[in-house]
Amino acid sequence: MGQFQAALRYMARRAAVAFATLFVLATLLFILFRLVPGDPTLTVLSPALSPENQAELRQRFGLDQPLIVQYGLYLTNMATGHFGISFSRATPVVALIGERVVNTLVLMLPALILAYVLGIFGGALIAWKRGTLLEKSATLFAIVFRAAPIFWMCIVFIVVFSHWLGLFPEGHMLTPGASSDSGISQFLSLDFLRHLVLPLVVMTIYYGCYPLLVMRTSMLEVLHDDFIELCKAKGLSERDVVFRHALRASLLPITSSVALLAAYAVAGSVLVEAVFSWPGIGLLMVSAVLDSDYPVAQAAFLLIAVLTVMGNLIADLLYGLVDPRIRYS
């Protein structure tokens, strides 16, 4: 029980640090966006745009306030999860962004989970089969593919699997007009799955390479450990030795990679979304930055940062789960 409480206390402290991190990031972001050259009021492309109109718009956007007031408002908006109102749309930012985050997660989470599952079991398998053709080719494959730029791989996959073979759609999340519903049910359709396959496969392969290689190295080390010898001496089958004992004990280095890879994947989702026209948060952020829509860009960026920070937290939590020797102190 004490351990559990310690873990809770530890997590609480970590969460506090995460919050502080986000606060610093948010402030940094605020400053950054005030430095962006370009007047957001100019995005109204009317030849009639006059200084009076601009003043009006500036007031509408709240840009006429002193910076410190803007900053205060910005922080309150964030703290209340409101994020303000988009410059270019009447939509509250939060409504705009909520959908997009879901779309991003719906692609990224399965991809990361699959990448790790495949990486872990694949890595264990090839470490066990060390020296075989399987191990050599899988290792080479992973070495080559983790080095490939993901956006390029995405295009290669599109060219091969949709353009030449016509197996999957080239992009987007749903066939146009397939569903007018923007709730959860759209993710349950066959159509969605068809659109999901290609980006999911690319991301899984791409992000699976690293866990695969880490797992292989870690397994090779663990397979030399004394307890493996005992497991063998106990008369366990090789499969049990490898997949029950060695695999579980080899997970430590891989969990410490979760945070890094998750952060990498969150950031990289911008690229995948761009190639596949996936209506996710990364794509929204890019277009908001280009459109000088500060509230949307800030919120999107912040949410991406939140995902990164959460990836860190989850990695920490996993570490504790995977390694019973970790004590929270």
Binding site: V17, T21, L25, A147, P149, I155, L220, L271, F301
Partner: protein, 300 residues
């Protein structure tokens, strides 16, 4: 990517380590091939101007003054031409130079930052350590690609800014590894001896401790080269790159936006393959070096 482990290493000079790494490479075809690939790309990068058959920025015309648009590979144009008649092979060669410059400058800058922060935090500890490490945490959580996009929309879209932004984002990993190493190094007898003899802290740090963390810094540096090249290509692919510089990422982006990626394979495939080879080779070399620098990782 690095492991956050503190190897207890003997005091070894990085050059010796490099020599050992090269020696070890000879036993491992994978690393030997990587080094050969890198050597080839280095030569191409250095002699880019001499090797490029055409000016990569200039449109090519045939004898009748027609633009040589989307030509497949031929003896005149080894890798064909682009939508606006530029020589792909020459662009690829110029891109090599960009990739290497970006990789190395970023690696050097980010290692310098990371190592110094790691050294100072690790050696002085206390409040300085706390402050530096919190800063490290914050920077660690900055999503690299989105941040670069925002930053580059403020700054000029130049390769130098891209290098700067990446250098400012990549260092936390190095700082953490170096710091934890310094924590153990500063308890070693030789540090005590230096302290006893009245050496000032900065002298102890840079004269006595720093040489011992160089191997780790070097490992990080080589990894950073690979990350930098990939990230720069990604930034270019999102259209935030330097328009006056040809990089592999820009080439891929040009094909993609011209919508000919499925026909003009000669234009689309080479830059990706180059990225794959160079980045992959740097990863392998970094890992091989890491094994030497950190004996615990040596394959048994």
């Amino acid at each position: 990517m690095l492991r956050e482990e503190t190897p207890s290493l003997p005091i070894i000079k990085p050059l010796d380590m490099a020599a050992r790494a090269v020696g070890a490479a000879c036993n491992r075809p994978r690393v030997a091939i990587s080094l050969a690939i890198l050597a080839a790309f280095f030569l191409v990068g250095i002699f880019a101007n001499e090797l490029a058959p055409y000016d990569a920025f200039v449109k090519q015309y045939d004898a009748n003054g027609n633009l040589l648009r989307l030509l497949p590979p031929s003896a005149d144009h080894l890798l064909g031409t682009t939508l606006f008649g530029r020589d792909v092979f020459s662009q690829l060669i110029l891109g090599t130079r960009t990739a290497l410059i970006v990789g190395f400058l970023t690696a050097i800058a980010t290692s310098v930052i990371g190592v110094n922060i790691g050294l100072l935090a690790g050696y002085f500890g206390g409040k300085l350590d706390g402050a530096l490490m919190r800063m490290t945490d914050v920077v660690f959580c900055v999503p690299i690609l989105p941040f670069s996009i925002v930053a580059l929309s403020i700054l000029n879209r130049s390769t130098w800014w891209i290098i700067t932004v990446m250098s400012l984002l990549f260092w936390p990993i190095a700082a953490r590894v170096i710091r934890s190493q310094v924590l153990s190094l500063k308890e070693r007898p030789f540090t005590d001896a230096a302290r006893m003899s009245g050496a000032r802290p900065l002298r102890i740090i840079y004269k006595h401790i720093a040489p011992n963390v160089l191997p780790q810094a070097f490992v990080h540096g080589v990894f950073a080269i690979a990350w930098a090249i990939t990230t720069e290509a990604s930034i270019n692919f999102l259209g935030f790159g330097d328009p006056n510089m040809i990089s592999w990422g820009t080439i891929i982006y040009d094909v993609f936006t011209s919508m000919v990626s499925y026909t003009a394979w000669w234009w689309f495939l080479p830059p990706g393959i180059c990225l794959m080879l160079v980045v992959g080779a740097f990863y392998l070399v970094a890992e091989a070096y890491e094994e030497v620098a950190n004996p615990r990782l040596q394959e048994r």
